[in-house]
Amino acid sequence: MTVYIGSGAGFAGDRLDAGIPVVETLKTKDGPRYLIFEVMGERTLAIAQRIKMRNPELGYSPYLEPYLRNVLKAAKEAGVTIVANLGNANPLGGAKRTHELARELGVEDLRVAVVLGDDLLAFMGADEVASLPSIEGVSIDGKEIVAANAYLGARPVAEALKLGVDVVLVGRTTDAALVLGPLIHEYGWGEQDYDLLAAGTLAGHLLECGGQITGGYFCDPGFKDVPGMDDLGFPIGEIEKDGTIVITKAANTGGLVNKATVTEQMLYEVHDPSAYLTPDVSLDITNVSLADDGKDRVRVTGARGNPPPETLKVTVSADGGWLAESEMIYAGPNALARARLAADVVRSRVTKHGVTEPVRIEIVGTGAVYDNDASDRERARNMPMDGEYRLRAAIRTLDKETAQYVNDEVLSLFCSGPSGGGGYRCNITGQVNTASVLVPRGPVEAQARAQEVQP
Protein backbone atom coordinates (compact mmCIF):
# COMPACT_ATOMS: atom_id res chain seq x y z
CA MET A 1 0.00 0.00 0.00
CA THR A 2 1.07 3.56 -0.69
CA VAL A 3 -0.49 6.65 0.90
CA TYR A 4 -0.77 9.61 -1.48
CA ILE A 5 -0.84 13.09 0.02
CA GLY A 6 -1.07 16.17 -2.17
CA SER A 7 -0.88 19.84 -1.30
CA GLY A 8 -3.42 22.42 -2.42
CA ALA A 9 -1.91 25.47 -0.69
CA GLY A 10 1.30 26.31 1.13
CA PHE A 11 0.27 29.65 2.60
CA ALA A 12 -2.74 31.91 2.89
CA GLY A 13 -2.58 33.61 -0.48
CA ASP A 14 -1.41 30.65 -2.52
CA ARG A 15 -3.00 30.03 -5.92
CA LEU A 16 -6.67 29.13 -5.54
CA ASP A 17 -6.64 26.69 -8.45
CA ALA A 18 -3.49 24.74 -7.56
CA GLY A 19 -5.44 21.95 -5.84
CA ILE A 20 -7.53 21.09 -8.89
CA PRO A 21 -4.86 19.16 -10.87
CA VAL A 22 -3.69 17.58 -7.61
CA VAL A 23 -7.14 16.06 -7.06
CA GLU A 24 -7.24 15.03 -10.74
CA THR A 25 -3.97 13.17 -10.27
CA LEU A 26 -4.95 11.63 -6.94
CA LYS A 27 -8.12 10.34 -8.62
CA THR A 28 -5.97 8.03 -10.76
CA LYS A 29 -4.20 6.44 -7.77
CA ASP A 30 -5.15 3.38 -5.74
CA GLY A 31 -4.86 3.61 -2.00
CA PRO A 32 -5.60 6.19 0.65
CA ARG A 33 -5.41 9.71 -0.78
CA TYR A 34 -5.35 13.07 0.96
CA LEU A 35 -5.26 16.73 0.04
CA ILE A 36 -3.82 19.21 2.55
CA PHE A 37 -4.11 22.98 2.77
CA GLU A 38 -1.61 24.81 4.99
CA VAL A 39 -2.66 28.43 5.39
CA MET A 40 -1.60 29.51 8.89
CA GLY A 41 1.23 31.79 9.91
CA GLU A 42 2.21 33.10 13.32
CA ARG A 43 0.06 36.20 12.91
CA THR A 44 -2.93 34.56 11.26
CA LEU A 45 -4.45 33.38 14.51
CA ALA A 46 -4.46 36.74 16.24
CA ILE A 47 -6.18 38.37 13.29
CA ALA A 48 -8.73 35.56 13.15
CA GLN A 49 -9.26 35.74 16.91
CA ARG A 50 -10.12 39.43 16.61
CA ILE A 51 -12.60 38.70 13.84
CA LYS A 52 -14.15 35.97 15.99
CA MET A 53 -14.53 38.39 18.91
CA ARG A 54 -16.60 40.65 16.67
CA ASN A 55 -18.59 37.79 15.14
CA PRO A 56 -18.52 34.36 16.86
CA GLU A 57 -19.57 32.67 13.60
CA LEU A 58 -16.33 33.76 11.93
CA GLY A 59 -12.63 33.37 12.76
CA TYR A 60 -12.03 30.40 10.45
CA SER A 61 -9.70 31.10 7.52
CA PRO A 62 -11.07 33.59 5.00
CA TYR A 63 -9.52 31.20 2.45
CA LEU A 64 -11.71 28.27 3.53
CA GLU A 65 -14.39 28.99 0.99
CA PRO A 66 -12.23 29.89 -2.05
CA TYR A 67 -9.93 26.89 -1.61
CA LEU A 68 -12.62 24.31 -0.84
CA ARG A 69 -15.00 25.60 -3.51
CA ASN A 70 -12.54 24.49 -6.20
CA VAL A 71 -12.03 20.93 -4.97
CA LEU A 72 -14.75 19.86 -2.54
CA LYS A 73 -17.00 18.09 -5.03
CA ALA A 74 -14.21 16.43 -6.99
CA ALA A 75 -12.42 15.32 -3.82
CA LYS A 76 -15.58 13.84 -2.29
CA GLU A 77 -16.40 11.97 -5.51
CA ALA A 78 -12.86 10.64 -5.84
CA GLY A 79 -12.60 9.65 -2.18
CA VAL A 80 -9.80 12.13 -1.47
CA THR A 81 -9.85 13.23 2.18
CA ILE A 82 -9.12 16.88 2.89
CA VAL A 83 -7.00 17.80 5.91
CA ALA A 84 -6.52 21.52 6.38
CA ASN A 85 -5.77 24.15 8.98
CA LEU A 86 -8.51 26.26 7.45
CA GLY A 87 -10.23 26.09 10.86
CA ASN A 88 -7.86 28.77 12.17
CA ALA A 89 -9.33 30.36 15.33
CA ASN A 90 -12.73 28.73 14.83
CA PRO A 91 -12.70 25.17 13.42
CA LEU A 92 -16.34 24.66 14.47
CA GLY A 93 -17.42 27.74 12.52
CA GLY A 94 -15.32 26.54 9.60
CA ALA A 95 -17.02 23.15 9.68
CA LYS A 96 -20.44 24.81 9.61
CA ARG A 97 -19.40 26.91 6.63
CA THR A 98 -18.03 23.81 4.89
CA HIS A 99 -21.40 22.08 5.24
CA GLU A 100 -23.14 25.14 3.79
CA LEU A 101 -20.69 25.14 0.90
CA ALA A 102 -21.33 21.42 0.30
CA ARG A 103 -25.08 22.09 0.07
CA GLU A 104 -24.48 24.95 -2.32
CA LEU A 105 -22.22 22.81 -4.53
CA GLY A 106 -24.50 19.79 -4.41
CA VAL A 107 -22.00 17.63 -2.53
CA GLU A 108 -24.02 14.97 -0.72
CA ASP A 109 -23.35 13.30 2.62
CA LEU A 110 -20.20 15.28 3.34
CA ARG A 111 -18.79 14.49 6.78
CA VAL A 112 -16.60 17.00 8.56
CA ALA A 113 -14.57 16.75 11.77
CA VAL A 114 -12.57 19.30 13.69
CA VAL A 115 -9.62 19.24 16.07
CA LEU A 116 -10.04 21.44 19.13
CA GLY A 117 -7.91 22.26 22.13
CA ASP A 118 -5.10 24.41 20.77
CA ASP A 119 -6.61 27.63 22.17
CA LEU A 120 -4.93 28.09 25.56
CA LEU A 121 -7.12 31.04 26.53
CA ALA A 122 -10.10 28.64 26.58
CA PHE A 123 -8.70 26.96 29.66
CA MET A 124 -5.83 29.14 30.96
CA GLY A 125 -5.86 32.70 32.28
CA ALA A 126 -4.03 35.38 30.31
CA ASP A 127 -1.80 36.01 33.35
CA GLU A 128 -0.80 32.38 33.43
CA VAL A 129 0.00 32.46 29.70
CA ALA A 130 2.05 35.65 30.15
CA SER A 131 4.15 33.94 32.82
CA LEU A 132 5.22 31.03 30.56
CA PRO A 133 8.93 30.98 29.61
CA SER A 134 9.57 32.74 26.30
CA ILE A 135 11.91 31.33 23.67
CA GLU A 136 11.67 33.99 20.98
CA GLY A 137 9.80 37.08 19.89
CA VAL A 138 8.84 40.29 21.64
CA SER A 139 8.12 40.75 25.32
CA ILE A 140 4.42 40.39 25.99
CA ASP A 141 4.63 41.76 29.53
CA GLY A 142 1.83 44.19 30.19
CA LYS A 143 0.31 43.85 26.73
CA GLU A 144 -3.18 42.58 26.13
CA ILE A 145 -2.93 39.04 24.83
CA VAL A 146 -5.09 38.56 21.77
CA ALA A 147 -4.41 34.88 21.15
CA ALA A 148 -2.37 32.04 22.62
CA ASN A 149 -2.39 28.78 20.69
CA ALA A 150 -0.33 25.66 21.26
CA TYR A 151 1.06 23.70 18.36
CA LEU A 152 -0.71 20.34 18.64
CA GLY A 153 0.83 17.29 17.04
CA ALA A 154 -0.49 14.69 14.62
CA ARG A 155 -2.32 12.42 17.09
CA PRO A 156 -5.52 14.49 17.27
CA VAL A 157 -5.55 14.70 13.46
CA ALA A 158 -5.36 10.89 13.29
CA GLU A 159 -8.18 10.71 15.88
CA ALA A 160 -10.33 12.92 13.68
CA LEU A 161 -9.66 10.71 10.64
CA LYS A 162 -10.69 7.65 12.65
CA LEU A 163 -14.21 9.11 12.67
CA GLY A 164 -14.35 8.31 8.95
CA VAL A 165 -14.91 11.87 7.73
CA ASP A 166 -14.24 13.50 4.36
CA VAL A 167 -12.80 16.74 5.73
CA VAL A 168 -10.73 17.47 8.85
CA LEU A 169 -10.39 21.11 9.85
CA VAL A 170 -7.80 22.02 12.45
CA GLY A 171 -6.63 25.23 14.02
CA ARG A 172 -3.07 25.41 15.35
CA THR A 173 -1.26 22.13 14.83
CA THR A 174 2.22 21.76 13.44
CA ASP A 175 2.11 22.09 9.68
CA ALA A 176 3.65 18.63 9.39
CA ALA A 177 0.74 17.16 11.41
CA LEU A 178 -1.49 17.64 8.37
CA VAL A 179 0.59 14.91 6.71
CA LEU A 180 1.76 12.85 9.69
CA GLY A 181 -1.84 12.59 11.00
CA PRO A 182 -3.07 10.71 7.91
CA LEU A 183 0.04 8.48 7.96
CA ILE A 184 -0.50 7.55 11.62
CA HIS A 185 -4.13 6.83 10.79
CA GLU A 186 -3.31 4.63 7.78
CA TYR A 187 -0.24 2.83 9.06
CA GLY A 188 -0.91 2.71 12.78
CA TRP A 189 2.53 4.08 13.66
CA GLY A 190 3.01 4.03 17.44
CA GLU A 191 4.09 6.84 19.71
CA GLN A 192 7.58 5.39 19.98
CA ASP A 193 8.10 4.53 16.31
CA TYR A 194 10.37 7.51 16.21
CA ASP A 195 12.04 6.84 12.87
CA LEU A 196 8.66 6.38 11.16
CA LEU A 197 7.21 9.46 12.85
CA ALA A 198 10.33 11.30 11.70
CA ALA A 199 9.77 10.16 8.11
CA GLY A 200 6.14 11.29 8.27
CA THR A 201 7.17 14.61 9.76
CA LEU A 202 9.76 15.06 7.03
CA ALA A 203 7.11 14.28 4.40
CA GLY A 204 4.94 16.94 6.03
CA HIS A 205 7.76 19.46 6.09
CA LEU A 206 8.47 18.82 2.41
CA LEU A 207 4.80 19.14 1.37
CA GLU A 208 3.59 21.91 3.67
CA CYS A 209 4.79 24.79 1.51
CA GLY A 210 3.05 23.62 -1.65
CA GLY A 211 4.86 24.75 -4.79
CA GLN A 212 8.05 25.60 -2.90
CA ILE A 213 9.19 22.03 -3.61
CA THR A 214 8.08 21.91 -7.25
CA GLY A 215 10.06 24.85 -8.57
CA GLY A 216 8.17 27.69 -6.92
CA TYR A 217 10.36 30.11 -4.97
CA PHE A 218 13.26 28.29 -6.62
CA CYS A 219 13.53 29.50 -10.19
CA ASP A 220 16.51 31.77 -10.93
CA PRO A 221 16.47 32.23 -14.70
CA GLY A 222 19.65 31.06 -16.40
CA PHE A 223 20.77 29.30 -13.21
CA LYS A 224 17.81 27.28 -11.95
CA ASP A 225 15.26 27.27 -14.75
CA VAL A 226 11.75 26.00 -14.12
CA PRO A 227 9.28 25.32 -16.93
CA GLY A 228 5.65 26.42 -16.76
CA MET A 229 5.70 28.56 -13.64
CA ASP A 230 2.35 30.05 -14.65
CA ASP A 231 0.89 26.57 -14.19
CA LEU A 232 3.06 25.33 -11.33
CA GLY A 233 2.11 21.79 -10.36
CA PHE A 234 1.71 21.30 -6.63
CA PRO A 235 3.44 18.41 -4.88
CA ILE A 236 2.23 14.92 -4.11
CA GLY A 237 4.02 12.72 -1.61
CA GLU A 238 3.88 8.94 -1.99
CA ILE A 239 4.68 7.48 1.40
CA GLU A 240 5.27 3.80 2.15
CA LYS A 241 4.68 2.02 5.44
CA ASP A 242 8.45 1.84 6.02
CA GLY A 243 8.67 5.62 5.81
CA THR A 244 10.09 5.83 2.29
CA ILE A 245 8.94 9.04 0.64
CA VAL A 246 8.71 9.87 -3.04
CA ILE A 247 8.04 13.51 -3.86
CA THR A 248 6.38 14.13 -7.20
CA LYS A 249 3.77 16.56 -8.49
CA ALA A 250 0.39 16.83 -10.16
CA ALA A 251 0.26 15.44 -13.71
CA ASN A 252 0.14 17.72 -16.75
CA THR A 253 1.36 20.80 -14.92
CA GLY A 254 4.40 23.06 -14.97
CA GLY A 255 7.19 23.14 -12.43
CA LEU A 256 9.70 20.44 -11.65
CA VAL A 257 10.85 18.15 -8.87
CA ASN A 258 14.53 17.33 -8.57
CA LYS A 259 17.11 16.89 -5.84
CA ALA A 260 17.80 20.63 -5.78
CA THR A 261 14.15 21.62 -5.28
CA VAL A 262 13.79 19.02 -2.54
CA THR A 263 17.01 20.08 -0.80
CA GLU A 264 16.01 23.75 -0.68
CA GLN A 265 12.64 22.92 0.81
CA MET A 266 14.10 20.37 3.23
CA LEU A 267 16.25 23.03 4.88
CA TYR A 268 13.60 25.76 4.70
CA GLU A 269 12.99 27.21 8.18
CA VAL A 270 15.12 24.49 9.73
CA HIS A 271 17.65 25.45 12.38
CA ASP A 272 19.51 22.50 13.89
CA PRO A 273 19.00 19.78 11.25
CA SER A 274 19.59 17.07 13.85
CA ALA A 275 16.72 18.29 16.04
CA TYR A 276 13.65 19.67 14.28
CA LEU A 277 11.30 19.63 17.25
CA THR A 278 7.63 18.73 16.98
CA PRO A 279 5.18 17.36 19.57
CA ASP A 280 5.39 13.96 17.85
CA VAL A 281 9.10 13.48 17.37
CA SER A 282 12.43 15.25 17.19
CA LEU A 283 13.36 14.89 13.52
CA ASP A 284 16.99 14.38 12.50
CA ILE A 285 17.62 14.95 8.79
CA THR A 286 21.41 14.76 8.92
CA ASN A 287 21.39 11.27 7.38
CA VAL A 288 18.69 11.86 4.80
CA SER A 289 19.56 10.82 1.25
CA LEU A 290 17.91 11.79 -2.01
CA ALA A 291 17.76 9.71 -5.17
CA ASP A 292 16.31 10.43 -8.59
CA ASP A 293 13.33 8.17 -9.25
CA GLY A 294 12.32 9.15 -12.77
CA LYS A 295 11.08 12.43 -14.20
CA ASP A 296 9.86 14.80 -11.50
CA ARG A 297 10.29 12.11 -8.83
CA VAL A 298 12.75 12.16 -5.94
CA ARG A 299 13.05 9.41 -3.34
CA VAL A 300 13.76 10.56 0.21
CA THR A 301 15.07 8.12 2.82
CA GLY A 302 17.02 8.14 6.06
CA ALA A 303 15.01 10.36 8.41
CA ARG A 304 15.74 9.50 12.02
CA GLY A 305 13.65 10.28 15.05
CA ASN A 306 14.26 10.94 18.71
CA PRO A 307 11.76 11.44 21.55
CA PRO A 308 9.86 14.74 21.38
CA PRO A 309 10.28 17.48 23.99
CA GLU A 310 8.21 17.57 27.17
CA THR A 311 6.85 20.97 26.27
CA LEU A 312 4.71 22.35 23.46
CA LYS A 313 5.42 25.56 21.62
CA VAL A 314 2.77 28.24 21.96
CA THR A 315 2.42 31.35 19.83
CA VAL A 316 1.23 34.24 21.97
CA SER A 317 -0.04 37.31 20.14
CA ALA A 318 -0.48 40.84 21.39
CA ASP A 319 -1.48 44.13 19.83
CA GLY A 320 1.50 45.54 17.96
CA GLY A 321 0.32 49.04 17.07
CA TRP A 322 0.76 50.34 13.54
CA LEU A 323 3.26 50.11 10.70
CA ALA A 324 3.26 53.13 8.40
CA GLU A 325 5.08 53.06 5.08
CA SER A 326 5.24 55.75 2.42
CA GLU A 327 7.19 56.12 -0.80
CA MET A 328 8.03 58.63 -3.51
CA ILE A 329 9.98 57.98 -6.70
CA TYR A 330 12.77 60.03 -8.32
CA ALA A 331 14.01 59.23 -11.81
CA GLY A 332 16.39 60.47 -14.49
CA PRO A 333 19.45 62.74 -14.19
CA ASN A 334 20.67 63.32 -10.64
CA ALA A 335 17.82 61.17 -9.24
CA LEU A 336 19.94 59.84 -6.37
CA ALA A 337 20.90 63.35 -5.20
CA ARG A 338 17.25 64.39 -5.24
CA ALA A 339 16.14 61.22 -3.41
CA ARG A 340 18.87 61.78 -0.80
CA LEU A 341 17.77 65.37 -0.28
CA ALA A 342 14.18 64.16 0.11
CA ALA A 343 15.37 61.67 2.73
CA ASP A 344 17.25 64.41 4.62
CA VAL A 345 14.22 66.71 4.52
CA VAL A 346 11.89 64.04 5.91
CA ARG A 347 14.45 63.06 8.55
CA SER A 348 14.79 66.66 9.69
CA ARG A 349 11.02 67.25 9.75
CA VAL A 350 10.13 64.16 11.81
CA THR A 351 12.98 64.83 14.23
CA LYS A 352 11.89 68.45 14.77
CA HIS A 353 8.31 67.25 15.21
CA GLY A 354 9.51 65.15 18.15
CA VAL A 355 8.88 61.66 16.80
CA THR A 356 10.74 59.38 19.22
CA GLU A 357 10.22 55.98 17.60
CA PRO A 358 12.84 54.79 15.09
CA VAL A 359 12.02 55.96 11.57
CA ARG A 360 13.68 54.17 8.69
CA ILE A 361 14.24 56.44 5.73
CA GLU A 362 15.94 54.69 2.85
CA ILE A 363 16.39 54.83 -0.88
CA VAL A 364 15.11 51.80 -2.74
CA GLY A 365 17.44 51.06 -5.64
CA THR A 366 20.60 51.46 -3.58
CA GLY A 367 20.48 48.00 -2.04
CA ALA A 368 18.17 49.23 0.72
CA VAL A 369 16.82 45.82 1.61
CA TYR A 370 20.34 44.63 2.48
CA ASP A 371 21.02 47.79 4.45
CA ASN A 372 20.14 48.72 8.03
CA ASP A 373 17.91 51.42 9.54
CA ALA A 374 20.79 53.93 9.41
CA SER A 375 21.45 53.23 5.70
CA ASP A 376 25.13 52.74 6.53
CA ARG A 377 25.86 50.82 3.35
CA GLU A 378 24.05 53.25 1.07
CA ARG A 379 26.18 56.09 2.38
CA ALA A 380 29.36 54.08 1.89
CA ARG A 381 28.55 52.95 -1.64
CA ASN A 382 29.27 54.84 -4.79
CA MET A 383 26.00 54.57 -6.69
CA PRO A 384 25.25 56.20 -10.05
CA MET A 385 23.56 59.58 -9.53
CA ASP A 386 21.33 59.03 -12.57
CA GLY A 387 18.70 56.32 -12.59
CA GLU A 388 15.53 55.42 -10.75
CA TYR A 389 15.41 55.63 -6.97
CA ARG A 390 12.51 55.35 -4.59
CA LEU A 391 12.42 57.12 -1.24
CA ARG A 392 10.80 55.03 1.45
CA ALA A 393 9.93 55.94 5.05
CA ALA A 394 8.71 53.44 7.64
CA ILE A 395 7.78 53.70 11.31
CA ARG A 396 6.08 51.53 13.90
CA THR A 397 4.01 53.39 16.45
CA LEU A 398 1.35 52.60 19.01
CA ASP A 399 -0.67 55.68 18.05
CA LYS A 400 -2.08 55.90 14.57
CA GLU A 401 -1.67 59.71 14.45
CA THR A 402 2.13 59.48 14.46
CA ALA A 403 1.94 56.83 11.75
CA GLN A 404 -0.21 59.12 9.64
CA TYR A 405 2.06 62.09 10.37
CA VAL A 406 5.16 60.37 8.95
CA ASN A 407 3.28 59.34 5.81
CA ASP A 408 2.07 62.92 5.42
CA GLU A 409 5.63 64.25 5.60
CA VAL A 410 6.54 62.11 2.59
CA LEU A 411 3.36 63.23 0.81
CA SER A 412 4.27 66.87 1.37
CA LEU A 413 7.42 66.36 -0.73
CA PHE A 414 5.20 66.82 -3.77
CA CYS A 415 5.19 70.61 -3.43
CA SER A 416 7.87 71.22 -0.80
CA GLY A 417 10.53 68.65 -1.64
CA PRO A 418 13.15 68.22 -4.37
CA SER A 419 12.28 68.50 -8.04
CA GLY A 420 10.49 65.77 -9.93
CA GLY A 421 9.22 63.43 -7.21
CA GLY A 422 6.18 61.36 -8.07
CA GLY A 423 4.27 58.13 -7.56
CA TYR A 424 3.43 58.62 -3.89
CA ARG A 425 2.21 55.43 -2.24
CA CYS A 426 1.42 54.85 1.41
CA ASN A 427 -0.24 52.48 3.77
CA ILE A 428 -0.87 52.05 7.47
CA THR A 429 -1.43 48.52 8.69
CA GLY A 430 -2.42 47.20 12.11
CA GLN A 431 0.26 44.95 13.57
CA VAL A 432 0.31 41.87 15.73
CA ASN A 433 3.31 41.07 17.89
CA THR A 434 4.09 37.47 18.65
CA ALA A 435 6.22 35.57 21.11
CA SER A 436 6.86 31.84 21.31
CA VAL A 437 6.53 30.34 24.77
CA LEU A 438 6.71 26.80 26.09
CA VAL A 439 3.93 25.05 27.99
CA PRO A 440 4.03 21.61 29.67
CA ARG A 441 2.33 19.23 27.26
CA GLY A 442 0.16 17.23 29.68
CA PRO A 443 -2.56 19.77 30.52
CA VAL A 444 -2.79 20.99 26.92
CA GLU A 445 -2.96 17.54 25.38
CA ALA A 446 -5.72 16.67 27.84
CA GLN A 447 -7.78 19.36 26.08
CA ALA A 448 -6.96 18.23 22.54
CA ARG A 449 -9.85 16.37 20.97
CA ALA A 450 -11.43 15.48 17.65
CA GLN A 451 -15.14 15.64 17.01
CA GLU A 452 -17.47 15.34 14.07
CA VAL A 453 -19.61 18.38 13.27
CA GLN A 454 -23.07 17.61 11.93
CA PRO A 455 -24.58 19.70 9.11
Binding site: V138, P273, G320
Partner: protein
Protein backbone atom coordinates in the same frame (compact mmCIF):
# COMPACT_ATOMS: atom_id res chain seq x y z
CA UNK B 1 46.46 27.66 -9.46
CA UNK B 2 45.77 29.12 -12.86
CA UNK B 3 42.55 27.16 -13.15
CA UNK B 4 41.12 28.75 -9.98
CA UNK B 5 38.52 31.50 -10.26
CA UNK B 6 37.08 33.91 -7.69
CA UNK B 7 33.37 34.57 -8.05
CA UNK B 8 30.29 35.34 -5.99
CA UNK B 9 28.71 32.25 -4.44
CA UNK B 10 25.82 32.74 -6.86
CA UNK B 11 28.02 31.36 -9.63
CA UNK B 12 28.40 28.00 -7.94
CA UNK B 13 25.59 27.55 -5.41
CA UNK B 14 21.95 28.26 -4.60
CA UNK B 15 20.01 28.68 -1.37
CA UNK B 16 16.79 29.72 0.35
CA UNK B 17 16.06 31.81 3.42
CA UNK B 18 13.62 31.03 6.18
CA UNK B 19 12.83 32.93 9.36
CA UNK B 20 11.71 32.24 12.92
CA UNK B 21 11.42 35.32 15.07
CA UNK B 22 14.61 37.34 14.78
CA UNK B 23 16.61 34.39 13.53
CA UNK B 24 17.29 33.71 9.88
CA UNK B 25 18.31 30.45 8.29
CA UNK B 26 19.96 30.33 4.90
CA UNK B 27 20.65 27.08 3.11
CA UNK B 28 23.55 26.87 0.72
CA UNK B 29 23.76 24.12 -1.89
CA UNK B 30 26.43 23.91 -4.59
CA UNK B 31 25.23 23.12 -8.09
CA UNK B 32 27.98 20.52 -8.41
CA UNK B 33 28.96 18.20 -5.55
CA UNK B 34 32.68 18.67 -6.25
CA UNK B 35 32.29 22.30 -5.15
CA UNK B 36 31.20 21.30 -1.64
CA UNK B 37 34.67 20.96 -0.05
CA UNK B 38 35.59 24.47 -1.21
CA UNK B 39 32.45 25.87 0.38
CA UNK B 40 33.12 23.98 3.62
CA UNK B 41 36.58 25.50 3.74
CA UNK B 42 35.72 29.07 2.76
CA UNK B 43 32.12 29.80 3.77
CA UNK B 44 32.65 29.73 7.49
CA UNK B 45 30.08 30.80 10.07
CA UNK B 46 32.42 33.60 11.17
CA UNK B 47 32.68 35.10 7.70
CA UNK B 48 28.93 34.80 7.14
CA UNK B 49 28.30 36.56 10.44
CA UNK B 50 30.50 39.45 9.30
CA UNK B 51 28.32 39.88 6.22
CA UNK B 52 25.21 40.43 8.35
CA UNK B 53 26.83 42.25 11.28
CA UNK B 54 25.64 45.69 10.10
CA UNK B 55 22.04 44.50 10.43
CA UNK B 56 22.63 43.60 14.07
CA UNK B 57 23.50 39.92 13.69
CA UNK B 58 25.16 38.60 16.84
CA UNK B 59 25.91 34.96 16.11
CA UNK B 60 26.02 32.54 13.21
CA UNK B 61 26.17 28.76 13.22
CA UNK B 62 26.78 26.45 10.31
CA UNK B 63 25.29 22.97 10.12
CA UNK B 64 26.73 20.65 7.49
CA UNK B 65 24.68 18.05 5.62
CA UNK B 66 27.24 16.05 3.60
CA UNK B 67 24.62 13.57 2.33
CA UNK B 68 22.82 16.44 0.67
CA UNK B 69 26.06 18.32 -0.11
CA UNK B 70 24.38 21.23 1.61
CA UNK B 71 24.94 23.52 4.57
CA UNK B 72 22.55 25.49 6.72
CA UNK B 73 23.43 28.82 8.32
CA UNK B 74 21.48 30.02 11.33
CA UNK B 75 22.04 33.70 12.03
CA UNK B 76 20.82 35.26 15.27
CA UNK B 77 19.33 38.76 15.34
CA UNK B 78 19.81 39.26 11.63
CA UNK B 79 16.28 40.42 10.97
CA UNK B 80 16.13 43.78 12.78
CA UNK B 81 13.63 42.29 15.19
CA UNK B 82 11.93 40.09 12.62
CA UNK B 83 8.34 40.54 11.53
CA UNK B 84 7.49 41.98 14.95
CA UNK B 85 9.61 45.07 14.69
CA UNK B 86 11.55 45.29 11.44
CA UNK B 87 11.18 48.47 9.39
CA UNK B 88 12.67 46.82 6.31
CA UNK B 89 10.67 46.31 3.13
CA UNK B 90 11.39 42.63 3.67
CA UNK B 91 10.15 41.90 7.19
CA UNK B 92 10.99 38.21 6.97
CA UNK B 93 14.40 38.71 5.42
CA UNK B 94 13.39 36.50 2.51
CA UNK B 95 15.88 38.30 0.25
CA UNK B 96 18.92 37.53 2.41
CA UNK B 97 19.86 34.29 0.64
CA UNK B 98 20.66 36.36 -2.44
CA UNK B 99 22.69 38.78 -0.34
CA UNK B 100 24.87 35.86 0.72
CA UNK B 101 25.01 34.52 -2.84
CA UNK B 102 25.81 37.92 -4.33
CA UNK B 103 28.22 39.41 -1.81
CA UNK B 104 30.22 36.42 -0.57
CA UNK B 105 33.07 35.47 -2.90
CA UNK B 106 34.72 32.09 -3.14
CA UNK B 107 37.73 30.81 -5.01
CA UNK B 108 37.10 27.52 -6.77
CA UNK B 109 38.41 25.52 -9.71
CA UNK B 110 36.78 26.65 -12.94
CA UNK B 111 34.90 23.34 -13.47
CA UNK B 112 32.88 24.15 -10.31
CA UNK B 113 31.01 26.75 -12.34
CA UNK B 114 28.22 25.00 -14.29
CA UNK B 115 28.73 24.90 -18.05
CA UNK B 116 27.06 27.77 -19.85
CA UNK B 117 27.02 30.01 -16.77
CA UNK B 118 27.12 33.72 -17.50
CA UNK B 119 29.91 33.97 -14.93
CA UNK B 120 32.29 32.14 -17.32
Amino acid sequence: MSDMITLPLHAVAHGRTGDKGNRSNISLVPYLPETYPYLLEQVTAERVLELFRHKGATDAKRYDLPNLTAMNFVIDNALEGGVNSSLSQDLHGKTLSFMLLGEFEVTVPKPCVPAGSRYL
